[in-house]
């Protein structure tokens, strides 16, 4: 009997607590039921009938509880964060209303932002002027703050001062209605200097811009992208969200008295320290579970050969001209912004050139003594990941395809086969002319062929003046810097600036079509109006692209006679217009739809591609994919035989592209082209030999996070005194009730006129 009582007591206590527990579990996941692991005391063999009765009741109780909690969790009302009570306490901001800064790691540093696991909480403080900011920096003495920062104050120096003030727990940047876009770049002022041409030893010491006080390429760049913040930084995109924050501050925090308007910001990142540490940790972790801490940044370079490549001819010395441009861009926060419009004009012009040269007939192409290869580099914004990888692949004979003796492959290309390199950089401000840049300390022979090429271009380009770079400056930041480290090749970079960027918003979130190209438009602007606005720049770009195409034709050995196709090489201005429209304004356009893979399910978004390289997947990213298809279709051969298009080929010298075309034919169009996608991934991350390579190469990784990582919510904070009062009240109630019930129970016999209770 004693045993029975004991068991009962035990199970009953367990019961009450289990109710609570069940409730909490259901709060999070319904899967719990699937495991059927409810700790029911089935194994207890009950002799007493009271036990059995008890068990029946308990089990039905539990089943009921499960059914009810399941019902309520289905409805998602009662226990979820959308419950009525939750909404009395918190106001959540939808994740797409704000942009966020994430954690990136390179060989030696961590940059970006992150919060604690639970999120950072602080009292909201609104800083909209320098005076207010200074006052706050001196007198803000509360334990934790979240700063609501007006956009014009968002720059490196101020952010570093906020970082130094340790009670700042987070920063939310917003734009006021009358916001004036100032000239500002978040990128480094001596951009891409880290592993550049002049970074090693004594070579070109006078051009090591930041060391020797030479002109800075990007004088407006404060380098905030490369800073690390121990708190989250969000950018409030929606004006209603901004007003909610400002009003909450005004209503509760001026003057500062409890309850205070507070904010919780969550953006917890898994990665830390640097790529080396993080990759090591990830590998350790991988042997037990599938959770990692960071992933390599990277993408795919796109390579196209104008002449169809065949396996039987090996590449000859100086037989190839490379034409390259960078595809990607970066910014401080890159979830929603798509900066780098000025940079994009480079690869858009390249596509125009490819279009013009692609229109040569098959025989005309084969008559050229030199082949022309177009390369679109990915990941260039991160220490020239794309071109660095190309050089590594060339060295190993893996360019443009990985060596595989079992397959028919194009001959490997390396730098000795290359006679000229032309790179197209920022060309958005082309109305002031184009500057041709080169490495001024190349050998004499190389410089001579550089001057020759520039001369040819100058003669061909009538409407857009082409000027030589000023004396006394080194080669501009470019992929060419990476390539020239391996061999002194004649190389020219064409840009819209001479000794410093014309673009005053390089890689900032304002570096878009709207601001860089000074187009004035809003939501009511029609597509036709946009097309009209794009006309002038499209015209300039098509003019320079025509000149470049003609120059390439001549340098490649094309004949210059009255019957030669030279005069027919032109870049269609409408084509340039479409390219600009599709890449920088609205990807959901005819040109892109025609170049999607046939019957692809991909729906084109109407928001321009953000061209942040992101995590390496081994697949071409959306912007590189569409560029590859366009490039292939511009330079390739249109086939009528569709059966070939559908079959997979062992022949790696060419690729078949089956695209939508203009939808008049069900089979779409079939394009045969020597187009390849090569890795744009830092090789040390692939070979896992980081430690010995970090001094030479940029190894970038991005921290991992989960679906529920980002959160921004607003609430009122109670002072600790009143919180303590609640606890005190609870304790008082508890004590009084224990005392009262004890007394009543003792006196029950008298109170109720009965015998023993």
């Amino acid at each position: 009997m004693t045993y029975c009582k004991l068991m009962l007591k035990h199970t009953c206590n367990w019961k009450v607590s289990e109710n609570v527990k069940l409730y909490r579990i259901v709060d999070y996941t319904i899967d719990y039921y699937g495991y059927g692991a409810l700790p029911l005391p089935f194994e207890i063999n009950c002799l007493n009938s009271c036990h059995r009765f008890m068990h029946i009741i308990m089990m039905s109780d539990l089943v009921l509880l499960m059914v009810i909690t399941y019902l309520t969790s289905l409805s998602g009302k009662c226990f979820s964060q959308s419950s009525k009570v939750y909404s009395l306490v918190y106001q959540d901001f939808a994740e797409d209303t704000y942009d966020k800064c994430v954690r990136l790691l390179n060989g030696t540093h961590e940059i970006g932002c992150q919060s604690s696991t639970e999120g950072n909480t602080g009292i909201l403080v609104h800083l909209n002027e320098t005076a207010v900011l200074n006052k706050f920096l001196e007198s803000g003495t509360r334990k934790h703050y979240v700063v609501l920062l007006e956009s014009s104050l968002f720059e490196r120096n101020i952010m570093l001062r906020l970082k130094a003030k340790e009670n700042v727990q987070g920063v939310i940047v917003y734009e006021a209605d009358n916001f004036y876009q100032r000239a500002w770049s978040p990128d480094l002022s001596c951009t891409s200097d880290r592993f550049g041409l002049y970074s090693n030893g004594s070579y070109g010491r006078e051009y090591q811009e930041c060391n020797n006080g030479a002109k800075l390429w990007n004088p407006l760049g404060d380098g905030i992208t490369e800073e690390s913040f121990p708190f989250p930084v969000f950018y409030m995109r929606s004006s209603s969200g901004r007003d909610r924050l400002i009003n909450c501050y005004k209503d509760y925090n001026v003057p500062e008295a409890y309850p205070l308007c507070s904010v919780q910001m969550k953006s917890h990142m898994f990665g830390a320290v640097d790529s080396v540490t993080c990759t090591r940790r990830s590998n350790l972790q991988n042997s037990f579970t599938s959770v990692g801490y960071c992933d390599p940044l990277g993408g795919m370079n796109v390579v196209t050969s104008l002449q169809k490549m065949t396996s039987d001819v090996s590449s000859k010395k100086d037989s190839i001209i490379l034409v390259s441009a960078a595809l990607d861009s970066r910014s401080f926060m890159s979830s929603f912004t798509a900066p780098g419009a000025d940079m994009a004009t480079g690869f858009i012009t390249l596509l125009g050139v490819a279009n013009a040269l692609g229109q040569l007939t098959k025989t005309q192409k084969l008559e050229l003594s030199k082949n022309i290869m177009f390369i679109l580099f990915d990941g260039e914004a991160f220490d020239h990941m794309g071109s660095t990888r190309m050089m590594y692949d060339m060295k190993n004979g893996d360019f443009p395809v990985n060596r595989d003796s079992e397959k028919t492959q194009p001959p490997p290309v390396n730098l000795t086969h290359v006679s000229h390199i032309f790179e197209l950089g920022q060309l958005g401000y082309i109305r002031d002319g184009v500057w041709a840049h080169y490495n001024p300390i190349s050998s004499k022979a190389v410089l001579n062929s550089v001057y020759d090429a520039i001369n040819v271009l100058q003669n061909l380009s009538a409407s857009v003046p082409v000027q030589n770079q000023s004396t006394g400056i080194g080669l501009v930041p470019s992929s060419l810097q990476t390539i020239l480290q391996h061999r002194d090749v004649p190389g020219v970079v064409l840009t819209d600036y001479d000794d410093q960027f014309t673009n005053r918003q390089y890689f900032s979130r304002f570096d878009t079509l709207k601001n860089i190209l000074s187009l004035r438009y809003n939501q009511n602007t029609t597509d036709e109006q946009i097309m009209d606005l794009l006309q002038p720049i499209a015209q300039n770009l098509s003019n320079i692209a025509t000149a470049i195409a003609k120059m390439l034709y001549l340098i490649a050995g094309g004949s210059h006679t009255s019957t030669s196709p030279l005069d027919n090489i032109t870049v269609d201005q409408n084509m340039m217009n479409d390219l600009l429209y599709c890449f920088l304004y609205n990807p959901n356009c005819d040109l892109f739809n025609e170049h999607l893979p046939l019957n692809s399910k991909a729906n084109l978004s109407s928001i321009s591609y953000r061209r942040y390289t992101s995590v390496y997947t081994g697949e071409v990213s959306d912007y590189a994919g569409i560029s590859m298809n366009i490039l292939a279709s511009f330079t390739g051969e249109k086939l009528q035989n569709f059966t070939e298009c559908l079959s997979k080929s062992d022949d790696q010298t060419v690729r078949y592209f089956n695209m939508n075309g203009n939808r008049s034919v069900a089979e779409g169009v079939c394009i045969l082209s020597s187009t390849f996608a090569t890795k744009a991934l830092a090789f040390p991350l692939e070979t896992k030999k980081l430690q010995e390579n970090i001094a030479m190469y940029g190894v970038w990784t991005e921290s991992r996070w989960t679906k529920t990582t980002f959160r921004l919510r607003l609430f009122l904070l109670q002072d600790e005194l009143s919180q303590g009062m609640v606890l005190l009240a609870g304790l008082l109630v508890m004590l009084t009730s224990f005392a009262t019930v004890y007394v009543l129970n003792e006196k029950a016999a008298i109170l109720f006129n009965t015998g023993i209770v």
Partner: protein, 241 residues
């Protein structure tokens, strides 16, 4: 330390019930069973309310609708509980020992089962609220009273006790087939529950609190009387020792 609020509120909501449990229920196995039975029946009422809520799609957003039906279901289940207890009481006569029989004799049965009934209702009404009190925020951003958590806990506490006393009164009335007390209890239950709808409005939060505690005092006195108490007894208990 928002956990201070959470624990304070927990103590307020369940302090009295814990005291009752420790001193009057814990030591008696049979009472524990009855407590669980009462809790079970309250859960059944919740199940039916939930099913109705699930079935009537257009009214899901209307709290008032669910509330009214939930009170009706609760009272129906209380009646079912009474019927079951009535049956069990006669059946248990022979099975139980003298000691056990005495532990659930007369109003003790209705008290304990009502306590279980109320405990479960209190648990469900307040856990949901208090899970949001863990922090870091406090109620108020939409204009609701900052004392929402505390008031909700006091309300939950009062509901546990109200249910207990209502049970004593209504079981007695069912047994003696008196209609008036039954009607009064049900109406009271409806009234007090409906007043809690005002809780989310800024200044009316104390209305339901005051009404429920006034009702609690009335009902307590009434139940005390039914259970055999009187003012004389009360005086006697203080004088005696």
């Amino acid at each position: 330390m928002p956990l201070m609020v959470f624990f304070g509120c927990m103590f307020v909501a369940f302090g009295p019930s814990l005291a009752l449990f420790v001193f009057t229920v814990m030591k008696f196995p049979l009472r524990i069973i009855l407590l669980v039975v009462g809790a079970f029946f309250w859960l059944l009422s919740l199940l039916f309310s939930a099913l109705l809520w699930l079935a009537v799609v257009p009214l899901r957003e209307e709290l008032a609708f669910s509330l009214v039906f939930s009170v009706i279901f609760q009272e129906l289940m209380r009646f079912a509980l009474f019927k079951l207890m009535n049956k069990a009481e006669t059946g248990l006569e022979d099975a139980l020992s003298e000691e056990e029989r005495r532990s659930i004799a007369s109003h003790k049965l209705s008290y304990v089962s009502g306590f279980g009934f109320g405990l479960m209702s209190g648990l469900f009404s307040v856990i949901n609220v208090l899970s949001n009190s863990i922090g870091p925020g406090n109620v108020g951003i939409t204009g609701a009273s900052p004392n929402f958590f505390l008031v909700s806990s006091f309300l939950a506490s009062s509901f546990i006790l109200l249910n207990t006393f209502w049970n004593v009164i209504i079981f007695n009335a069912y047994k003696k087939r008196k209609l008036a007390p039954i009607a009064i209890v049900i109406l009271m239950h409806m009234l007090v529950s409906c007043l809690t709808l005002l809780n989310t409005l800024p200044h009316s939060i104390y209305v339901s609190l005051i009404v429920s505690y006034v009702s609690l005092i009335v009902v307590m006195g009434w139940a005390f009387k039914i259970a055999g108490g009187s003012l004389g007894n009360l005086k006697a208990s203080f004088v005696c020792k």
